[in-house]
């Protein structure tokens, strides 16, 4: 009986404690929900975590976060944060699409943002990136750096979004070296493909055995294996989403930055300042939404010529002189 009393007592205490906590931050309570793979995937999710953290540190505002463990938790996580008055709620990942449609409709007064997916509701901001533009640039770098004229690409789950990365990359490679050969592999057809570094490593190794000496990955947690395999073989990997240059200094040529962090940061900031706008926004090279990373870990790998060529291409893409084909426009890729 004593145990029960203690428990009931604790529960009651807790109830009041939660309330008090809620009161203290009643004004502004942003929340971010990560996709499968978790906030420390050193890639996509980590980028959104970093955006939220940067905002939190700059404005001294705490944010709520949640890492789902299964697909079915998406809706519960969204609804719970909304029900507890969190606002705005940012989710990262295309797989949140249907959950977002359901929950955002239930909570019209809450602001939502979703990355990598378009949800057409008056209180949802949809942010997508021109990954093909960033991939084009790292593709150029890969081709210019490659000594064998062969480069590789390892994707995560085989979906149009990842084909978009691949297609931009191939276009960039061919732009720099029309004779270059590109090997492509996808890790799988389910969510598990985002988190299988063993297989990622094997795929990269396979490509390197075929002669590739630069391998680009767009595979979330799987990419850790790709970069590790490249480093083990003394070859070069290219990171994605976050800046992954630090993972294997000297063996990561660059990282294709996808500024998910900026999207999260902006959503939080706009909402705090009352400037939150719903609707559809595309972040490309022009908006600094995508790019490539150069830091102390890889600056020796990139020559002046490469820099110049890439910067040149970047300007041309922004100006529209170079058109990079978006795979998702017609679900096909002109280059392979």
């Amino acid at each position: 009986m004593n145990i029960l009393k203690t428990l009931v007592g604790a529960a009651a205490l807790l109830g009041s404690a939660t309330l008090a906590l809620a009161d203290g931050h009643a004004d502004f309570k942003p929340a971010v929900i990560f996709d499968l793979g978790g906030k420390f995937d050193r890639s996509f999710n980590q980028a959104s975590f970093e955006g939220a953290t940067r905002f939190s540190e700059e404005f001294d505002v705490e944010f709520r976060e949640f890492e789902i463990q299964s697909d079915a938790q998406r809706e519960q996580a969204l609804r719970r944060f909304a029900e507890q008055g969190n606002n705005p709620i940012v989710v990262a990942g295309f797989a949140y699409g249907s959950a977002m449609e359901t929950v955002a409709a239930e909570f019209p007064d809450t602001s939502f943002a979703i990355i990598d997916m378009v949800v057409d509701l008056p209180n949802v901001r949809s942010v997508v990136f021109n990954e093909h533009e960033g991939s084009f640039l790292v593709g150029m770098m890969a081709a210019m750096k490659s000594e064998t004229g062969k480069v590789g690409f390892v994707g995560g789950m085989d979906i149009p979004l990842i084909r978009k990365f691949a297609c931009g990359y191939v276009q960039g490679v061919k732009a720099a070296n029309p004779d270059a050969e590109v090997f492509q592999n996808m890790t799988g057809t389910t969510g598990a493909a985002w988190n299988d570094p063993v297989k990622g490593g094997e795929l990269a190794k396979g490509q390197m055995d075929q002669g590739a000496d630069v391998v680009y990955h767009a595979a979330g947690g799987t990419g850790r294996g790709v970069l590790q395999a490249a480093a083990d073989a003394g070859k070069l990997g290219i990171g994605v989403d976050s800046n992954q240059n630090y993972l294997h200094p000297g063996n990561v040529l660059t990282s294709m930055l996808k500024r998910v962090d900026v999207a999260v940061y902006n959503a939080f900031k706009d909402s705090m300042e009352g400037n939150f706008t719903a609707g559809f926004s595309v972040l490309g090279l022009a908006e600094d939404g995508v790019g490539y990373a150069v830091d102390e870990n890889n600056e020796t790998l990139i020559s002046e010529d490469m820099m110049k060529a890439v910067e040149d291409a970047k300007a041309k893409i922004i100006s529209g002189d170079i058109k990079v084909h978006n795979y998702m426009d017609d679900n096909s890729c002109p280059a392979s």
């Binding site: 604790a10 976060e65 029900e83 295309f94 057809t189 679900n331």
Partner: protein, 365 residues
């Protein structure tokens, strides 16, 4: 073989001590993480039972576990360990989805019975092959059902990728079911009676689960086939002597088991997600093992154990929200401890208790 334990000790005391031990060890784990186990417990109880929102989710999870628990329990009665609830429920999800996608322009009153049939038939069908192999070829059903879980996973991925998912879409899921295949959620049912409760995925399937529990009780303890199933479970040789055909019993028990596991797809696929997603079972097939073990394979025990696991799942999710340093794998750990203590380490409690009762009996005799 004289029994040395009174029935109440067998069905109440031992499970209670075992669950207590499991939670005690879980509490130690929380301490190790550096959090307060009493506070964690408080959050779990508050989060799962402290609001209509929490209760709704708790009962939503419990609904799944009642179905899978019953599935394991029915097979247990025939002395069959069906570890394949995960695959059976998964394949049943395909069945439910196919029905719903076909008839979702009609009305849920039509769609529900059809979907129940779809889920039950697909679930039973997936159980039928291991059952047949056990009955006719003597293949170890534990191993075959494990294998069939993996085969089911591959099959579902294949079907979703190639046939079921919305063309061009990225998410590996079917289109959402239209109005005509959406069964009433609990908050809708409540609103018919003028009550207002939080929106949760809990739906009419909960009552279906209770009904299924009653029917299972009737079947196992009151029907002729139940009498035969239990007899077979106690002794296959005796069953053969009594003219009970093993092949028939294995098939019936496993088909029922698969069908019951399959019915959980009504709750998840039709009730909550309203579409077929890739991982619609969420490990409930395995939780069913723990539920059946704890519930001593009796429907009432199964319901109680399913509620406990519902509290565990919902409370555990709340825990992960409230104390991010306790990840949701805590649930998995507690689940493992419950299976360990109530299942494989049961004799750790039983042996000393038997000795104790023997001594008590001698003292009074």
């Amino acid at each position: 073989m004289k029994k040395s334990l009174p029935t109440w000790a067998d069905v109440v005391l031992i499970p209670a001590i075992n669950v207590f031990l499991a939670f005690f060890v879980a509490g130690l784990v929380v301490l190790f993480i550096g959090e307060d186990p009493i506070r964690a417990m408080g959050i779990m109880i508050q989060g799962s039972l402290g609001s209509s929102y929490g209760i709704g989710y708790t009962l939503f999870y419990a609904t799944n576990f009642i179905f899978t628990g019953l599935a394991v329990a029915v097979a247990f009665h025939a002395s069959i360990f069906n570890i394949g609830g995960e695959g059976q429920a998964g394949v049943a999800g395909v069945g439910v989805a196919l029905v719903c996608l076909t008839v979702d322009q009609t009305h849920w009153l039509l769609a529900l019975p059809l979907a129940i049939m779809g889920g039950a038939v697909f679930g039973a069908g997936w159980a039928a092959i291991p059952a047949w192999l056990q009955a006719k070829r003597g293949s170890h059903i534990v191993i075959t059902t494990i294998m069939f879980n993996y085969i089911a996973a591959a099959l579902i991925i294949y079907l979703l990728n190639n046939y079921l998912k919305v063309p061009g879409a990225m998410a590996l899921e079917t289109r959402g079911f239209a109005e005509g295949a959406q069964i009433p959620a609990m908050h809708e049912i409540a609103s018919w009676f003028g009550a207002s409760i939080s929106r949760t995925p809990m739906n009419i399937s909960f009552f279906l689960a209770l009904l299924a529990s009653f029917l299972v009780w009737l079947l196992i303890w009151r029907s002729r086939i139940g009498y035969e199933i239990r007899a077979f479970g106690f002794s296959e040789k005796a069953a053969v002597y009594a003219g009970i055909k093993p092949v028939k019993i294995i098939m019936i028990a496993m088909l029922l088991s698969g069908a019951l596991a399959g019915l959980m797809a009504i709750n998840t696929v039709m009730g909550s997600e309203k579409r077929l997603v890739l991982d619609s079972v969420l490990g409930a097939g395995f939780v069913g093992i723990a539920v059946a073990l704890m519930g001593r394979s009796h429907p009432i025990g199964v319901i109680l154990a399913a509620l406990l696991f519902g509290v565990l799942y919902q409370g555990g999710a709340e825990l992960a929200f409230e104390i991010p340093s306790i990840p949701s794998q805590m649930i998995l750990t507690i689940q493992a401890l419950v299976i360990l203590f109530t299942g494989s380490l049961e004799n750790m409690v039983r042996f000393p208790l038997e000795k104790l009762f023997l001594r008590l009996n001698r003292g009074t005799a």
